[in-house]
Structure formats: C-alpha cells, structure tokens
C-alpha cells in the first residue's frame, strides 16, 4: 500500500481545513450523508440560484479522507453550474473506481485528483465518495 499517495499533504491538510465547515445561509438544499458501518456523518448544505451553485458548506465528522474529500469538493464545485457539477461528480466517482483517464481527472478535478490513490484501497472508497454522493443526491433534488 502506498501510504504517501493515500495520505498526501493535500489530504492531511484539507482534512483539518475549516473554511468550508459551516452552515450556508439561505441554503436551498440540506442533505445528510452517512456511512453507518464506520460512523462518518456529514450534513451538506447547498445554495443554488438560477442554475448556479452559489455556495456550499458542510458540518460533520469522519476520517481524514471523508473530510478532505468534502472540503476539496466544495472548493472545486463552488460557482459551477448544476450541469457542470454533475459532470464533475461523475468524473470523480469514475476516478475513485479506477475507471477515469488520468490526464482528464488531473485537468478537471484539480486538487480533488489527490484522492485518486483511494482506488487502490477498496476499504476506504466509501469514505472518499460520501460527500460526492450526498452532493449528487442534493443536485438531483433540485427542480430543473
């Protein structure tokens, strides 16, 4: 197991980052995501206006991988359209399954590509996808 790729500086530092850990004023969707077997638990709040994701924040606790992936996701998604966000979620989930093109995900997922190493650690996949699945559900709840 390559620990360095799994716990890179981007991940350990972002797991402790506080700037996205906050409720979102005027959020249009608030959704809980959890991994019952390990206790990771987050509430993701999203504010969408005119098809643009204006703001996101999360509250919760969990392992470094789940927390870093939530924070990095928010940095990436903020300001994108709902359609762009759905495309990025799809690409990220394919990256974690080990099915995405490396050049494409490094290019489009920016710092979130630091989580690509999780594809080789099946036990931790559920941690890496928690925030993203929660966002996917939140976006699908939005009326077009």
């Amino acid at each position: 197991m390559d620990l360095k790729s799994l716990y890179s500086q981007i991940i350990t530092e972002n797991s402790r980052a506080a700037h996205n850990r906050r409720p979102v004023p005027g959020a249009t969707v608030s959704l809980e995501g959890n991994n019952p077997t390990c206790g990771d638990d987050i509430v993701l709040q999203v504010k969408i206006e005119n098809g643009i994701i204006e703001d996101l924040g999360f509250i919760g606790s969990g392992c470094a991988i789940s927390q870093a992936s939530a924070s990095l996701m928010i940095d990436l998604i903020k300001g994108k359209t709902v359609e762009e966000a759905k495309g990025l979620v799809d690409l990220y989930l394919r990256m974690i399954k080990g099915e995405a093109d490396e050049k494409e995900y490094i290019d489009r997922l920016e710092d979130c590509s630091a989580l690509a190493g999780v594809a080789k650690v099946p036990a931790r996949v559920k941690c890496a996808v928690l925030a993203w699945h929660t966002l996917e559900d939140a976006l699908n709840q939005q009326p077009d």
Binding site: L3, Y7, T37, C38, G39, C63, A64, I65
Partner: protein
C-alpha cells in the same frame, strides 16, 4: 510465552499482510482457527456426513452422534445441568434473537421493563428494542461509571419489580471488563425476572460457568473461540426452554404435524428447525478441546500480560485516549484513540505495517455516545500473539502520527 507453543497451529499467521509479518489484533471480532479445527470439519464431511435424526442407516446414525456429542461437550464446557439445555444457532446474534422473540414476545407486556446494559453489543440491545416496541414493554438502560464498571448501586436502582429481563454481556466488546453478571442475575431473580447473558467476548478468555452465574440464557459464537464461523450456541434453563414457543419452525422441530395443527418437539430440537450445521459443530468441539487443553486460566494470564505491555507502550507514547480511562486492563482488549487522528485513518495506516486492528463503533453505538466519541480503535489479543506483536503494534501507532503530519 504460550504463543511459542501454539502460534504454529495457525497457518494463516505465517502469511504476509502488505508484505509485512501479520500482526492479527482483531481477535474480539473473530479469532483465527487452528489446524485441528479445520481438520475436524473436513473429517466430518469426509467421514460422517448425513442428515441427523432422519436416516436409519449407519451413516446417518454417525452424523446424529456427532451432533449430540457436540451438544454434550458444550454442555460440559458451560457446566450446564443437562445437554438438552444447549441449542445450536448460527451465532450469538441468532441465539439472542431467539430469546427475544420466543421468550420476550411470550412473556412481556405493557409497562414491563427490560434492563439493558448500555455497553451491550447491538445484538443484545436491538432485539430488545424491537420486542419492547411490539409488547409495550420499556427498555431501561444501565450505565457504567467512567471506569466502565456497573456498580451495585446502579444495578439495584434500575432492577426492580417491573424488571422482567436483564440483558448484559459477561464482558463488553469495547470496555473489555468483566461485568457483575452474577450479582445482576441474583437481583433480577429476586424480582422474578430472568437474566440473558452475552458471553461472546468472555468464552475464549475465561471460564463461563452458567450455573455459577445463575444465568437463565447464555449466548456465544463459535468463531470467537477459535471455532468456525456460522456456528453459535444458546444455553437456556430447561424449564424455561420447555415453556417457550418455537422461534423458527419447519423440519425437525415438530412432534406431529396435522392439517389441523402441529405439536412441537421437546427442547433442544424445538429450537433447531431445519438441518443443523454439523460440520461446524464438529469444528467447535475441537476448538473447545483446544482451549481446554491449554487452560483458560493460562490463556487469560497470557493475554493480560500482552494487554499490560501494550497499555504501557501506548501510555509512553502519550496523547492516547484509553476507554475506559484509568482502567488497569486485566483483560484481553484495549479500546483507544490517537488524539487528532480518526480511527479509520489510523487503522489503514497500521494495516500498511501488517497490523490488523478494528476501527469503528464496534456495534456499540449507545456506548460510543456515552463515551462522547463516534468511533475508536480496538486491539484485542489471543493465545498466538506475542511481545513482538505488541512492539510492532506500538511502532505502527507511532508511525500513524507521522503519516498524518502531526508529529511523533
């Protein structure tokens, strides 16, 4: 140490994990199996396999003998009064569900109380919540002190004339401390109730004597005592079993079936519907002989020594939270957290050093809530662990901090 004589009996332990020596410290989840257990399962299927209680041919008789002999060995192991008090199940969870749904549904009514230790594994807690919901009975929780102990005061204040059932583990799978089950049984009996004791975490580490603890029901899983997965045991006092309705129904648990209705077999067969898992019963018998040959006292002494050394190592590292705090850990497991590191990250990093520890809520969420944590790490020991395992374990904890970038 004991491990030098017994480690060789467990082939899996000589395999590498992540190219490192395997340091298996998740024995409270399941133990590894010695060769004699695996051989016993194979011997059954290659020499004695048939459906018990059904055929009249010689082979079916031999299979029946394997089944009934296993019952006797387990009855003696638990010091039960009669072999008919031993019922085979899939695991402790199924055994506890049997008691909840058969005894509980038949005997509980509105406003009766079920006293449940808050540190119970979900298997001795969720069935009682469900049965309470159906019957209108109430679950009353017993709380331990910060040191993880259930005091006499707590027991006497919660166990009273409305208490029909007490549910308590002999040893908690997180706290690792022996609970006062004998006292709790006495108190519930004084009030006309019964005691359901989960021995899943004690059976491989200390003598479980059902008559001494005066338990009405005792459950354990074979796979936590060096036996195969898929075989468990429920002990129940015969008069209680005899008066209880069946749990699962179907083949082998009947006396007669007519279009108009069915009469049931006597215990234990009343509770063993369908073909039993004889291969694994044979394996469990061998596992019990194995631990009895070593001696449970010696096993406990060995594990306590490892536990103490591990605890010293963790305390020397500093910034480690031990649950319960201040415990002297004269048991076989240590639950802890590395401050600033989530247990799942720690377990992944320790795994890269070949160290297998459990991380999570250990199927004891109400206890986690009481401890004010979401999850923790647990290292649990068995006869094949040695001091080198402890050293590697401690080093892996140290490395975990480095990898997570919070110093050593």
């Amino acid at each position: 140490m004991l491990s030098q004589y017994y480690k060789k009996d467990f082939k899996i332990l000589s395999k590498l994990e992540n190219d490192m020596r395997m340091v298996y410290l998740d024995n409270a989840a399941t133990t590894q199996k010695p060769d004699v257990v695996l051989a016993a399962v194979k011997r059954y299927y290659t020499g004695d396999n048939a459906n018990p209680h059904r055929g009249v041919y010689e082979l079916a008789m031999r299979a029946t003998d394997v089944h009934e002999n296993a019952r006797q060995v387990i009855a003696a192991f638990l010091n039960a009064e009669r072999a008919e008090e031993v019922i085979f199940t899939r695991n402790a969870t199924e055994a506890l569900n049997l008691v909840a749904y058969s005894y509980g549904l038949a005997n509980l009514k509105t406003d009766d109380e079920i006293a449940v230790a808050v540190s119970e594994h979900h298997s001795n807690l969720v069935p009682w919540q469900r049965v309470a919901e159906v019957t209108g009975a109430k679950v009353v929780y017993l709380y331990p002190t910060e040191q993880g102990e259930y005091t006499e005061e707590e027991l006497t204040s919660k166990i009273g004339s409305s208490t029909k059932i007490l549910a308590m583990a002999h040893v908690s799978n997180v706290l690792g401390i022996e609970n006062p089950v004998k006292l709790a049984s006495r108190l519930v009996h004084q009030n006309g109730g019964i005691a359901v004791i989960d021995c899943a975490q004690s059976v491989a580490h200390m003598k479980v004597n059902v008559r001494d603890m005066d338990a009405d029901f005792v459950a354990f899983s074979g796979h936590k005592v060096y036996g195969p997965m898929g075989i468990g045991v429920l002990y129940g006092k015969y008069e209680l079993l005899d008066a209880m309705p069946p749990f699962l129904s179907g083949g082998d648990m009947i006396s007669h079936v007519h279009e108009s209705g069915t009469t049931y077999a006597k215990p234990p067969r009343k509770f063993e519907a369908g073909t039993c898992n004889l291969g694994d019963e044979a394996g469990l018998v061998e596992a019990i002989r194995y631990v009895e040959a070593i001696g449970l006292d010696k096993i406990r002494e060995h594990e306590t020594e490892l536990c103490k050394k591990a605890l010293e190592g963790l305390n020397a590292l500093g910034r480690i939270d031990i649950y319960p705090s201040g415990s002297d850990k004269s048991g076989s497991l240590i639950s802890f957290n590395i401050r600033g590191v989530h247990p799942h990250d720690a377990a992944t990093i320790m795994d890269s050093y070949g160290v297998c520890v459990r991380a999570g809520h250990h199927c004891a969420e109400p206890l986690m809530e009481r401890l004010g944590i979401g999850s923790c790490l647990r290292a649990s020991f068995a006869i094949y662990n040695d001091m080198d395992d402890v050293d590697i374990f401690i080093r892996s904890v140290e490395q975990t901090r480095k990898v997570m970038g919070i110093g050593s």
